[in-house]
């Protein structure tokens, strides 16, 4: 626990000592604005909710979170600091968790800074604040899932660009797993049980569940399992590379 916090604080320090966190946050806010107001038709819809705002989050995360995740391990491995870190008395899981939490906090900070849009919609009408709060929570959990995937891809690769592409690709697969275009292609030759399993793996389906304001335990559990599973995979990948 002590080591997890120490590593998390060190990573956070690095995010904010370099332009990384600021660039991420600014781009995230700008793109959110563009998507929500231009593409999402925030005003035109004439409804006091944040559906268009949250609707774009999966796609935004797909590349923005991949970008922040790609350096998680790949950079440390390349520069040799991974050796410095892992020869200190830390458990691998503490290092994995510490790094993940720091990045998750950065994404969470960016998400929190979108609060003006909540103020705007509250000013214009009477939104359901419970739904918005749930959506924020869901969005952050979803970001955690993408981040955990990215953590594993970054651990598997020394090259940050490869880590980015892998993360975006795997993230994309998980995002669209519940879409008809995936399910229809698989329909003919996969047993229905597997088909259902694939559909149940979809990030989008679970996020939309939460974003509707229904805090279903299964959706929460899904994201927690996704995060936990990919982080465990991260630790396994690092351990495997240690053995060579």
């Amino acid at each position: 626990m002590r080591a997890t916090i120490a590593i998390m604080l060190r990573e956070l320090g690095s995010y904010f000592a370099t332009p990384l966190a600021y660039v991420f946050i600014v781009i995230f806010l700008v793109l959110n604005g563009v998507f929500t107001f231009q593409l999402g038709g925030f005003y035109e819809r004439g409804q006091a909710d944040l559906t268009p705002f949250f609707g774009f989050h999966p796609w935004l995360y797909l590349f923005l979170v991949s970008a922040i995740a790609m350096r998680l391990w790949a950079e440390d491995r390349r520069s040799g600091t991974l050796e410095l870190l892992l020869t200190l008395p830390v458990r691998l899981r503490e290092a994995v968790l510490g790094k993940f939490l720091a990045a998750w906090i950065v994404v969470g900070t960016a998400l929190l800074l979108t609060f003006p849009i909540w103020l705007t919609v509250s000013f214009l009408g009477q939104p359901d604040h419970g739904v918005i709060l749930a959506s924020y929570l869901g969005s952050w959990l979803m970001a955690g899932a993408y981040l955990a995937i990215g953590s594993c891809m970054s651990a598997a690769s020394t090259n940050q660009v490869i880590a980015f592409i892998l993360t975006a690709a795997v993230g994309f697969l998980f995002t669209i797993a519940g879409f008809p275009m995936v399910l229809d292609t698989a329909q003919g030759w996969l047993p229905p049980m597997l088909l259902e399993a694939i559909a149940a793996m979809s990030i989008l389906t679970h996020f939309q569940g939460i974003a509707r304001g229904v805090l279903d335990l299964r959706d929460l559990l899904y994201f927690l399992v996704m995060i936990g599973g990919w982080l465990i995979a991260t630790a396994i990948v690092i351990d495997l590379r240690k053995a060579g």
Partner: protein, 314 residues
């Protein structure tokens, strides 16, 4: 006590460390030598627990590195090759981070940090980002990280690389001043360093042990061991020395024939050869002005052991 026991490590088809065994006891400063690519760094990475052995193992004290890595890492101070550090962090931040990870109490941490900052002369760069520091400072920051918790076991991968001669001397003094009950392994390819600092030297070649002895014993294997260096009153020809028992080779050290080195056969080292030489020279009227005996040359032994056809294990 560090016990490296039949350690092997492969990277795909490449064997970096090949059935390597040696022990290091408390109070020893082991010089770990070998040409570049011989497997020094890999061995140190395995000892420090960063790489897992392919076969064999390493024990430090009563802990196996693979089985209880955390216990080993608490005992260990490790300077990785190239002294890596996060470029945006300051030496101060790095030391604080390492202390926090190690769970050092604040008072102890502050005392140790102050001590190391003075010892390694880090004061002026303490609050500057690592990426702006010179190679020498980076190396010394790496050393301070390894020494922070006053570890019982120190593994230093080329600690003096990139330092100027004064800084090299400081680091050597620091290593020799460590208390007597510590175990230190220093890899280097600077042979004077081994003679200046180490109580024992292990030489590896292509991942295999080729020598394990004190620096003096190693140097004694060279043909320079016991060789007689002469400076004469007047020049002489080489044939003056012909037929002196125990002298098996000679060479002139200057152009005119006043300075000579006489190589001595192994069994004649420490014997009365010098008296025979003196008699001979006195007889022709070219008395010795000064002379000394070579201890032997480590660099020559190193070359012999690490070049040419693979030698048998010693």
């Amino acid at each position: 006590m560090i016990e490296v026991d039949h350690l092997s490590r492969h990277f795909g088809p490449v064997t970096a460390v090949d059935d390597l065994s040696f022990n290091v006891g408390a109070g020893e400063i082991l010089g770990f030598l070998g040409p570049n690519g011989a497997g020094k760094t890999t061995t140190m990475k395995v000892i420090a627990g960063f790489l897992a052995p392919s076969s064999g193992g390493v024990r430090i004290g009563k802990h196996d590195v693979s089985r209880s890595p955390l216990a080993v890492k608490r005992l260990l101070g490790y300077l990785p090759e190239g002294a890596p550090a996060w470029p945006d962090m300051t030496p101060f931040g790095l030391l604080r981070f390492a202390a926090r990870v190690r769970g050092m109490p604040v008072s102890l941490r502050d005392a140790r940090m102050q001590q190391l900052i003075t010892q390694l002369a880090l004061e002026e760069v303490l609050l500057r980002p690592m990426e702006s520091l010179s190679k020498g400072f980076r190396r010394r920051v790496g050393l301070s990280l390894a020494l922070l918790h006053d570890p019982a076991v120190l593994i230093l991968d080329e600690p003096t690389d990139g330092l100027d001669p004064n800084q090299k001397q400081q680091v050597r003094d620091l290593i020799t001043s460590l208390s007597r009950d510590k175990i230190v392994i220093v890899s280097t390819h600077i042979l004077e360093e081994v003679e200046a600092v180490c109580t024992r030297a292990v030489i590896i070649r292509r991942g295999r042990l080729v020598a394990d002895a004190t620096p003096d014993a190693l140097a004694a294997r060279s043909r320079w061991h016991g060789a007689i260096a002469l400076r004469l009153d007047r020049p002489v020809q080489a044939d003056v020395f012909a037929g002196i028992e125990g002298v098996d080779d000679l060479r002139s050290e200057d152009r005119n024939g006043q300075d000579w080195t006489l190589f001595v056969t192994r069994d004649a080292v420490g014997g009365p050869v010098i008296d025979r030489v003196r008699e001979r020279l006195d007889a022709i009227g070219a008395p010795i002005r000064e002379f000394w005996l070579h201890r032997g040359r480590l660099d020559e032994v190193f070359r012999e052991l690490t070049l040419g056809p693979p030698a048998e294990s010693a």
